[in-house]
Amino acid sequence: MSNIVEIKQLNKSFGEHHVLKDIDLQVKTGEVVVIIGASGSGKSTLIRCINGLEEYNTGTLVVDGHGLEPHGGSQKALNTIRKEVGMVFQQFNLFPHLSVRRNIMLAPMKVKGMSQAQASDSAERLLERVGIGNQADKYPNQLSGGQQQRVAIARALAMEPRLMLFDEPTSALDPEMVGEVLDVMRELAREGMTMMVVTHEMGFAREVADRVIYIHEGRIVEEGAPDQVFDTPQNERTQAFLSRVLSH
């Protein structure tokens, strides 16, 4: 299978602060890649580069055959990539002034020119799929955190993305709601969605990931199948990190 993401020698700085260092990373179509690492190690920055929410400084980045140049690149490439890449944020980022249905309908109508009736049908189907089919006409603030995050996933899926990025999708949730969101993600993975997931949910990573990547201070220092990374980490930094998070 072909690579949907190809990153070579990518470097990214915020001013003087060198945040991503010589990142080489390929993601195959259908693969689930989980990215772990300490706070501030650059996990969010890395996945935000992939849909152009952050610009990078040097290296190459190709997403689904579309090159995205350093320093933002062309607006056209950005637009193409963003249509094909869905993103789910830690803070959900639902649109509070729109109903759940309208949240989901917005992009298909504005970007793909889908008709209102079609977009509304599709919104209902997607809500059904994430297990909240009866909430379409509520507003986001009338839903629980877990429900909001599931709406956010449905909203991203409405664009029929080829790749889904998740940036700590369960970190802002009350513990009892983490499971329902992970269930939806597990299901997506089972259906063959290509996913890059930043998470601290090690159980989920072990179960769902095809590959786990450990980032330390902006560098990929360990990478491999979950069992390999979790049970026999090669790098001592990975060992230290895992013993810290797994002891909790």
Binding site: R82, F95, H97, V111
Partner: protein, 223 residues
């Protein structure tokens, strides 16, 4: 000196019909000026947020100039100063509307800027990541939310501007205060007349406050 003053209700009531002739001017100048000020405010408020400095700077200059000088000086400048430049006189009412428009426009620019900046960064990122363009993201996601937050400060500015129209008696616009001055010149009942004038302003501003409060509540329920 002993005061023998007592409030003359009859004089106050007698003054009402004459004073009321000023109300349409006060309302028209306020409404026309604020409407234009709102347009200016959106325009310059958004320009002041633009990434390009050559759009941002002129907007900032406009805002600073009209916030940093008294509206009285602004209207005197427009009414007495501009005709030299234009080569012809300006109607007092036109000058008054222009002064409210330019002055409130500067303050409303700041309201617009603050409203837009108050919307969390994640909203923009969510829009962009869904494939919406920057323009679509702004007008369908940021602006509707910002507008809702702008209602209270806009109401505040409307009240300030309504009261500012009282200054335009100096260029002879027949608004509420001017009508009062003319009436007093004949009757010498300053206390009663200004009392009635004050009540008239209060009726206008309180109605507006009430209207905005209803509007705001409706807006919040919709979220």
């Amino acid at each position: 000196m002993e005061s023998t003053f007592s409030f003359n209700w009859q004089a106050a009531i007698d003054a009402i019909p004459f004073l009321l002739k000023g109300a349409p001017y006060t309302l028209m100048i306020s409404f026309g000026g604020l409407l234009a000020g709102f347009v200016l405010g959106i325009l310059f408020g958004l320009l002041s947020l633009n990434r390009r400095w050559y759009l941002r700077w002129p907007a900032t200059a406009y805002i600073e100039i009209f916030r940093g000088t008294p509206i009285l000086v602004q209207v005197l400048f427009i009414f007495y100063g501009l005709p030299d430049l234009l080569g012809g006189p300006i109607e007092p009412v036109t000058a008054a509307i222009a002064a409210i428009a330019l002055n409130s426009g500067a303050y409303i620019s700041e309201v617009v800027r603050g409203g837009v900046q108050s919307i969390a960064k994640g909203q923009r990122e969510a829009g962009l990541s869904l494939g919406l363009s920057r323009t679509q993201t702004f007008w369908t996601i940021i602006w509707p939310q910002a507008l809702r937050r702008m209602i209270p400060p806009l109401g505040n500015q409307a009240i300030v501007s309504i009261k500012d129209t009282s200054l335009f008696s100096v260029i002879g616009v027949g608004e509420l205060v001017r009508q009062g001055q003319v009436y007093i010149a004949n009757t010498f009942t300053a206390f009663e007349v200004y009392f009635v004038v004050a009540i008239m302003y209060l009726i206008i501003t309180l109605s507006l406050s009430l209207l905005l409060r209803l509007f705001e509540r409706r807006g919040i329920n919709a979220v």
